[in-house]
Amino acid sequence: MKTNGTPGDANGAGGPHGSFAEDDAQWTALRYVLGEMNADETEAFERTLSTDLQACEHVAAAARLTADLYSALSTEVEVMTKAVPSAPAKDIPISAPVRSTRRGLWAVVGLVAAVCLLTAGGLSLLPLTGDNQEEAAVDHADTSAGSLVAIWTERSAETAAETPLAGAAGPDRVNAEGVPSFADTDAADDSAADSALVAEDDYDVPGWMIAAVENGKSWRPDDADTEIREN
């Protein structure tokens, strides 16, 4: 009589149905191949192997299944490893320093905003033939405060009389107590506040320009004084 060779196996109970016995035999063989049997079970099963061809065939099938599963799983891992960028090396800082980056980031934001506004304003102020100047303004939007001021001065001088000043605070910007409400401030309001700092006989410099100039002076990409703190 052929046995499954697993006297102590709680999962080894056979049944009258061939398929159940077959499943049980496969499971036993897999446990043997995986080394999940204790010494007694192994010894008993190996005694079976020496006489039972079907048990040998189940072991061969279990070994094949195990090898195929390992190959399939290792292939998937390889594919996923290639698809997902590898984690940064240990000798490379994982996170950039926060403080210096934050300061630089605001400066960059200010510059970008200045450039965008300049471009938008320049497009509305200049005739179409001024494309070259606009491109120059955009292409050369660097941290140079002087270039921004010069460009703005030149253009605003042409249409200063027609262009309404940005951001005089209107009555809707004041709360019930008559105090300006800062909750709704925007660039227009900022420029109105900033313009108060400028002499009356000067051009009304919009706030974004002042911010751009300040940011242009305070940060440069290659600034050696930029403090870098590592985590």
């Binding site: 192997l49 299944l65 090898a67």
Partner: protein, 171 residues
């Protein structure tokens, strides 16, 4: 009187693959399995004529198991990793595998992956942890915080599904 070489060649072609898998399952070492397989067919050349023709396969497996037991008694097994069982199937470059065999194995691999994906996630996880990560069932039970019996049941159900899936026509 020795068995005919043509018969030996025929036996090798029919049973070498299955015998090799059986030996890898017993020894869990591809190199030793290959050595045992070679010894088996050496014995077949020397003594195969004594076996009855209708039971040649059984005779081969008995001899193979005996050879495996000999090697194991010599204490030559050091690595019982499943990688050793799988390695022989992966190294096709220097094994003289024919192109059609490589294609067949590639198709089989695709079928296995498909069968794996069809498994319920909890069963698939157990299979992956046991087969690929080579953790014991006890370690898996501890890591997943489930009873050992649950892990065994999941693995057994997965085995049943995988076997059925891979025995379908066309696989």
């Amino acid at each position: 009187m020795r068995i005919d070489s043509a018969v030996i060649a025929s036996l090798y072609e029919r049973y070498a693959d299955e015998l090799g898998l059986f030996l890898r399952g017993v020894l869990r070492n591809s190199d030793l399995a290959a050595e045992a397989l070679q010894n088996t067919f050496t014995k077949a050349v020397e003594s195969g004529h004594t076996a009855r023709e209708e039971s040649l396969k059984g005779w081969l497996f008995r001899v193979a198991f005996h050879e495996a037991a000999l090697l194991r008694r010599r204490g030559q097994i050091h690595d019982r990793s499943l990688r050793q069982i799988a390695r022989n199937g992966q190294s096709s470059g220097d094994s003289g595998e024919r192109p059609e065999e490589r294609l067949s194995r590639s198709e089989m691999l695709t079928e296995v992956q498909r069968a794996l994906h069809d498994l319920p996630p909890d069963q698939r996880r157990v299979v992956q942890m046991r087969i690929y990560e080579e953790k014991s069932f006890a370690e898996i039970a501890e890591e997943l915080s489930v009873p050992l019996g649950t892990v065994l049941t999941r693995m057994r159900l997965a085995l049943k599904k995988l076997s059925r899936q891979m025995q379908k026509p066309g696989t």
